[in-house]
């Protein structure tokens, strides 16, 4: 009996081994090489390089442009995440209530998530173009503005505009996941609460939230990493400008690695980002662990 169990475990391990090997090789090699090159003077196109110790880290951490990008990145992540959760959550709750055409609305609302980023970026760039863009000219034509608002070139508007696009783009994913989680909440608990005289808000706080918070928590972890690392949408719409107002750390790392060709320094930036994100993930998981314990208690 024991032997059988052992063999079953070995067989299971054999089945997952290929996938595990691929994951380890695909991730471990670049990670280790990035850590290694962050300690060297590696240049993108030159073969020779020297070991420079922590010089790249010191250079990066003493560069004001890095810190500026880091704070923009934090703002970008927090505001986008909160916005995506609020919009996604609200949309999911609304969809949960809808009786007719639910799948139609669900499909319509998922559209932003279904398009490739480049299509979304170029479409928004076209819609917001300060001369011929639809939106600025529409706002002028209905009398809201005297002059076409410069969504992508005004120092005040460019960051909120990008965040808005990111919320529009990311909220559907939250919506779909929260909607799935909502469908797992036992309906009899709502009925019991209603009999006990609980208000809709009380039902939401004491029944809905505890049931879906693990799902939302994991979504927050995933979205934090994705939003923090997002590069394409910002790069394609503003390139990090104007005047570095939308330059996040991934764009900074790209400019250092591919613009200046200082691959060593660029690797140091990404290693620092990794450390930061691991700390954030650790904190999130501590919180999730606490919730889980509360749930089982």
């Amino acid at each position: 009996m024991r032997n059988k169990r052992y063999m079953a475990k070995v067989a299971a391990f054999c089945f997952i081994l290929p996938a595990l090997l691929v994951a380890v090789l695909l991730l471990l090699y670049p990670v280790l090489s990035s850590i290694f090159y962050s300690l060297t003077s590696k240049h993108l196109i030159k073969a020779d390089y020297d070991f420079v110790g922590l010089k790249n880290y010191i250079d990066v951490l003493s560069d004001p442009s890095f810190w500026k990008s880091f704070w923009i990145n934090i703002k970008w992540t927090v505001v986008s995440l909160v916005g995506q959760i609020l919009v996604g959550f609200t949309a999911a709750l609304a969809l949960e209530r809808i009786k007719h055409c639910k799948s139609f609305f669900r499909t319509v609302l998922i559209i932003p998530w279904a398009f490739p980023t480049i299509v979304i970026a170029l479409s928004w760039k076209w819609i917001l173009n300060g001369v011929s863009g639809f939106l600025p000219n529409f706002l002028v034509s209905i009398g809201l503005f005297e002059k076409a608002p410069q969504f992508l070139s005004s120092g005040e508007l460019v960051f909120p505009t990008l965040v808005f696009i990111n919320i529009w783009f990311g909220a559907p994913l939250i919506m779909v996941n929260v909607l799935s989680a909502l469908q797992t909440v036992p309906k009899d608990q709502y009925e019991a609460a209603q009999i006990d005289g609980a208000s809709p808000l009380q039902s939401f706080i004491h029944i809905t939230v505890p049931h879906i918070r693990m799902v939302v928590g994991l979504l927050v972890v995933l979205r934090t990493i994705w939003i923090f690392n997002s590069f394409d949408i910002i790069y394609l719409i503003t390139g990090g400008g104007p005047a570095e107002l939308t330059q996040t750390v991934p764009i900074y790392a790209y400019n250092v690695g591919w613009g200046l060709k200082m691959l060593g320094r660029s690797s140091a930036v990404t290693v620092l980002l990794l450390v930061f994100l691991l700390i954030v993930c650790f904190m999130y998981f501590k919180l999730l662990d606490k919730w889980e314990k509360e749930g089982t208690a």
Binding site: P30, N129, Y235
Partner: protein, 463 residues
């Protein structure tokens, strides 16, 4: 089970975070040793009639538009028909993709046998010891036929020339004849006159057409180009002879002030983010009265707004003072290079020589008439070239462009090829300087000094 799920979640999140680093690993560590000089030399004499060529080569180029691509493919097909032992694989990339491909491919030896390149890239390729000298090939085609400046740009400190110019294009001032007529304006000859004309048109057209659009997108180099035009028209350069950035000379400061004024009074606000395509699209759509570009503007307008063809023309780059001589400011010489990793440099040389024969070369130039200016002199005297409809329609533009050609170079290459020139145009320091002045209100002198210092720091990384 729950604990297991939690650990799995942690593992997945960690793997995702680790994924961050995957973009920064080098493409491949294995560096192929470049062949030494003796092995790099052509194995056979390409000009020799008796030598039979045999082998396969890969040719990367960035001529993505249909007609250019077709003429190159046709030449390659004919060359393969004439040399049955030869196979030429042509791969086409945009300039941006090409740069990524060769910079990442160099470390792993994944570069082509021959390719097109930009002048600043040639300097980087020479610096990385990646390409072969082509002096023998140039001598066989006829060194005297090439414009001297074009060859100087491809000549390294060792005295060897590493690129054969395929074509040139020179910057000129493009304008709309109908708008000049509508507002009864003379073609501007000085920068001040240009500003006045642009302002009148901008005010008169009330947002339908702008006088100019000063482009400052930080993912392009147009603000550097426009400042360079101003500075060069006064006989100065953005990189001094001793390789230092020059943004704080009185002329450079005047130039910065000038373009800020043009932006504020004559440009759409959005042009703070414009790149080459945005700027050109504005002109093609008929929304710009003045623009700076090469003869490629003709094919752009023809493709996008054929109705505008009769209204466009170009004039020499304005000057700082009335009466100053009209000088050429910027010419881009696009060369072909042969990579050191090539196993068949003799086939590459033979194909290039074959391509420069008038019947093929003229066809290539006519794939973008007036846009691509010949790299070798005398070839446009050809009847086929002269009878082309676009060449005839834009005879004046052709004359202006040819007038601008002698003496002008790529930006920053006025004193010969240097890696600093690549940094000047690729790091977008000047674009960010302008954005800083306009958006943050930083005083011009202060922003110029900061940008100059930043550029000089960057220059030290390649000095």
């Amino acid at each position: 089970m729950k604990r297991m799920k939690k650990y799995l979640s942690i593992l997945l999140a960690t793997l995702m975070a680790l994924g961050l680093l995957t973009g920064c690993g080098p493409a491949n560590e294995t560096t192929s040793t470049p062949p030494d000089d003796s092995s790099a030399a052509p194995a056979t004499e390409p000009g020799s009639e008796t030598t039979e060529l045999e082998g396969e080569i890969t040719f990367w180029h960035s001529f993505t538009q249909g007609p250019r691509l077709e003429t190159i493919q046709a030449a390659a097909d004919q060359f393969m028909a004439d040399n049955p032992g030869v196979k030429i694989n042509i791969e086409t990339f945009s300039w941006a993709d090409f740069y990524t491909k060769w910079t990442t491919g160099l470390a792993s030896g994944n570069v082509p046998d021959m390719s097109s390149a930009l002048p600043t890239q040639v300097v980087e390729m020479i610096d990385a010891d990646a390409i072969l000298p082509l002096d023998d090939l140039i001598d066989r085609i006829g060194r005297d036929k090439f414009y001297e400046k074009a060859l100087v740009e491809m000549t390294a400190e060792d005295g060897h020339c590493y690129g054969v110019t395929l074509y040139s294009n020179t910057e000129a001032m493009w304008y709309r004849k109908d708008l000049m007529e509508k507002y009864d304006l003379e073609i501007p000859e000085t920068w001040d006159e240009l500003y006045e004309c642009a302002k009148i048109i901008t005010e008169g057209e009330n947002g339908e057409v702008y006088g100019a659009a000063f482009p400052m997108g930080a993912n392009d180099m147009l603000a550097t180009r426009w400042l360079h035009l101003y500075v060069r028209s006064a006989g100065e350069t953005l990189i001094t002879e001793d390789g230092k950035a020059n943004l704080t000379s009185p002329t450079a400061i005047d130039g910065i002030n000038y373009w800020v004024k043009v932006y504020q009074d004559c440009s759409p606000a959005d042009s703070i983010n414009y790149n080459t395509l945005d700027e050109a699209t504005m002109y093609y759509q008929g929304k710009l009265a003045f623009d700076f570009n090469t003869g490629f503007h003709i094919s752009g307008v023809q493709e996008n707004s054929p109705d505008l063809m009769e209204y466009i023309d170009c004039a020499p780059i304005p000057r700082v003072n009335e009466g100053d001589p009209a000088v050429g400011c910027e010419t881009n010489n696009t060369p072909l290079v042969i990579w050191k990793n090539s196993e068949h440099p003799e086939i590459c040389e033979a194909f290039i020589e074959y391509f420069y024969e008038p019947e093929r070369y003229v066809d290539f130039l006519l794939s973008v008439p007036v846009g691509m200016m010949p790299a070798i002199q005398g070839v446009t005297d050809n009847e086929k070239y002269q009878s082309n409809e676009i060449v005839q329609q834009f005879q004046h533009a052709d004359e202006v462009l040819n007038q601008m050609l002698p003496g002008s170079t790529a930006i920053g290459m006025e004193y010969g090829p240097r890696p600093e020139a690549g940094l000047l145009t690729s790091q977008h320091v000047i674009e960010e300087m302008f954005q800083d002045i306009i958006l943050n209100g930083t005083p011009v002198e202060e922003a110029a000094k900061a940008a100059e210092d930043e550029l000089n720091d960057l220059f030290e990384t390649v000095g």
